[in-house]
């Protein structure tokens, strides 16, 4: 399943450059995202992995420009979507881009649909906002996307309300809303975390099929390496608001070059080994409002050096298309 093709030649649809999103709190400035950069190419799936609080979700919200202002703010950096930097544009212009060029599937299907509107209504709304077509065509298009995400008997289910559907079905509806206006980029924020394993597999397959059909680029936010292996072409590993390692799925799994990636991979339970105790990373990530001068992982790192505490390691190339931010990498 792992694709070796890193699609160097294809067009870049989303390019993030040195993005910093900070929050002002009474404890100080929380640097939730602090200087991340990556490119997303057409038809590619990028996985963003990391533990809770590493900045994955803030990255996602920044890309959608959905950071609550105040207390949050994108303080610097560029988000170039389809040739246009979306950081400086107005809220109104951004509303036109949301849902049409960049769409979102959020985590919890039980709460992500509005309980007082029918699902048909909620899918149609997304289409109505972005496409200037007659009412009948909107309804047809809504049915079409609902069929595309395999909602059985879509013609009758459009009248249903969210509480009449199962979690898996609701998440399909959320997916249908996401793809309804044929976006170029789809951000999936742990879309399968709250689904049963079998439903999860179905859903992932569905996303893959849709991607193949429409050459969609997907950013997959997860903490599950199993999903990364199945779904992604490339992976960015985040720690304390920064990307610490970035490469193809094969590079990351076979040749992890940052101690944090190694530790994360080591903590994935394996079926083929008998262990008394599962591996876990000692300690806690540093508080984001009080980050150390040097590497944020230093206190938990098994191979820490003096240098690590003095200054933050620059991002260095391990091999072609594989980078890591660690002093160990030469």
């Amino acid at each position: 399943m792992v694709t070796t093709d890193t699609r160097i030649d294809t067009e870049v649809v989303l390019s993030v450059e040195d993005l910093r999103t900070h929050f002002t709190t009474r404890w100080g400035t929380v640097k939730a995202v602090d200087g991340i950069s990556f490119d997303l190419r057409k038809g590619e799936t990028l996985g963003i992995v990391g533990e809770s609080g590493c900045g994955k979700s803030v990255t996602m919200l920044s890309l959608m420009r959905l950071i609550p202002v105040p207390p949050g703010q994108i303080v610097s950096g560029k988000i170039v979507l389809d040739g246009e930097d979306i950081v400086p544009i107005s809220e109104q212009e951004m509303a036109e881009i949301r849902g049409s060029k960049i769409a979102l599937i959020i985590q919890d299907p039980m709460t992500s649909l509005n309980p007082v509107f029918s699902i048909g209504n909620q899918v149609e709304e997304a289409i109505e906002i972005h496409q200037d077509i007659p009412k009948q065509s909107i309804m047809d298009r809504a049915l079409e996307v609902l069929r595309k995400v395999n909602i059985p008997a879509a013609e009758t289910r459009v009248k249903d309300y969210p509480h009449q559907m199962s979690g898996g079905m609701r998440q399909r509806v959320v997916g249908a809303i996401g793809i309804s206006c044929q976006p170029q980029v789809l951000i999936a924020d742990e879309p399968t975390t709250s689904l049963d394993v079998t439903i999860q597999a179905q859903y992932l397959k569905l996303l893959k099929d849709i991607q193949k059909d429409s050459d969609l680029s997907i950013i997959f936010i997860t903490h599950d390496f199993g999903i990364v292996a199945k779904m992604c072409d490339r992976v960015a590993v985040m720690y304390a608001g920064r990307i610490v390692e970035h490469g193809s799925v094969r590079d990351i799994f076979n040749n992890p070059s940052h101690p944090y990636t190694e530790a994360l991979l080591a903590s994935v339970p394996r079926m083929d080994r008998v262990v008394d105790r599962l591996f876990s990373i000692e300690g806690q990530p540093p508080p984001l409002h009080d980050l150390p001068v040097g590497c944020a992982f230093a206190d938990r790192c098994p191979v820490v050096m003096d240098k690590c505490r003095e200054s933050y390691p620059e991002i260095k190339a391990v091999s072609d298309g594989h980078t890591a931010a660690c002093w160990k990498v030469e």
């Binding site: 049409s100 979102l104 959020i106 919890d108 992500s112 649909l113």
Partner: protein, 305 residues
């Protein structure tokens, strides 16, 4: 939907029946009505004849049956003080109370709901602070005091409105504001907290991700959900505004049912008091039923339950 409505209707009926039973029992344990109807110069013969006329010589269950039969026909006996049928007196006083109740109710909604939305959307700004002050006064000032203060400033000092009674159109302003302020305050706080909860929800995030503009988010996606708690409260409010007018009607000498109840109480006019209480119950139950229907309209989860 039909099943839901049928259930609600049945419940309303049971409530009315229970209240009638309570009223019947209370009127019987509070003493023999003949002590009121007859004076000291009546003979034993008068006493017995009166008992026959009122049916007091029959067993209790039969008396209750007669009471119910009369109630269904709108016959609650005769008022002692006014020497007229209770129904007639109650009907005469009802319009004033219904008017005051509906104006106060509209005031509580028209002031409470928009201010609640504003306070939530502009949380932490001066508008939120103004909302907080309005809510604080409404919820902590007792109506009799609030009524007198309003009367003092707006009627006596400024002479803008009549201080009491029901004469011109503007004489309703002070009693309606006094009566409605508490509920406006309660609505404000309910809508504010419901709105804050809703605005923080995942489906609002998804709606924004769809590209829905802020105005539509608030007025369509959030408002309808935030309407559910205040609507539940409206069921209580509507009833309470009609029946809770005892104090306000007395303070402002408003010729409605509340004042009638107080008058009946002071005159030991039990049949009249019974009639007023039954009317209050009927209004309360009807209001609750109307709100239940609206509730189902707003929230599909109830419609299909």
């Amino acid at each position: 939907m039909q099943k839901y409505l049928a259930r609600r209707f049945l419940l309303a009926f049971v409530t009315l029946l229970s209240v009638s039973l309570i009223i019947f029992i209370m009127s019987r344990v509070s003493g023999d009505p003949r002590h009121i109807y007859l004076d000291d110069y009546s003979t034993q013969e008068d006493w017995d004849r009166m008992g026959e006329v009122l049916g007091l010589d029959k067993p209790y269950y039969e008396q209750y049956g007669m009471f119910l039969k009369g109630a269904v026909k709108g016959d609650f006996g005769e008022s002692v003080r006014e020497a007229r049928p209770v129904t007639e007196v109650v009907l005469e006083r009802s319009p004033a109370t219904l008017l005051l109740g509906s104006v106060a109710f509209s005031f509580s909604i028209l002031v409470g709901v928009p201010l609640g939305i504003l306070s939530a959307v502009k949380r932490g700004t001066w508008m939120d602070q103004v909302g907080k002050i309005i809510a604080l006064i409404g919820q902590s000032a007792p109506p009799f005091w609030l009524g007198i203060m309003l009367m003092f400033f707006f009627a006596v000092q400024l002479g803008m409105v009549p201080p009491y009674g029901k004469q011109d159109w503007n004489s309703i302003i002070l009693p309606a504001v006094t009566l409605g302020w508490y509920y406006a305050a309660a609505n404000l706080r309910l809508v504010r907290s419901a709105m804050l909860d809703v605005l923080d929800s995942e489906y609002i995030k998804l709606a924004r991700a769809k590209g829905v503009n802020s105005r539509t988010i608030i007025m369509k996606h959030a408002f309808r959900n935030a309407l559910i708690p205040p609507l539940t409260f409206a069921g209580v409010t509507l009833g309470a505004l009609v029946t809770g007018s005892l104090v306000v009607e007395t303070v402002f000498a408003w010729p409605g049912l509340g004042r009638l109840a107080i008058e009946a109480l002071f005159a030991f006019d039990y049949p009249l008091l019974q009639g007023v209480v039954i009317t209050f119950t009927l209004l309360y139950v009807t209001a609750a039923f109307v709100v239940d229907v609206l509730y189902a309209y707003v929230d599909p989860r109830i419609r299909y339950a």
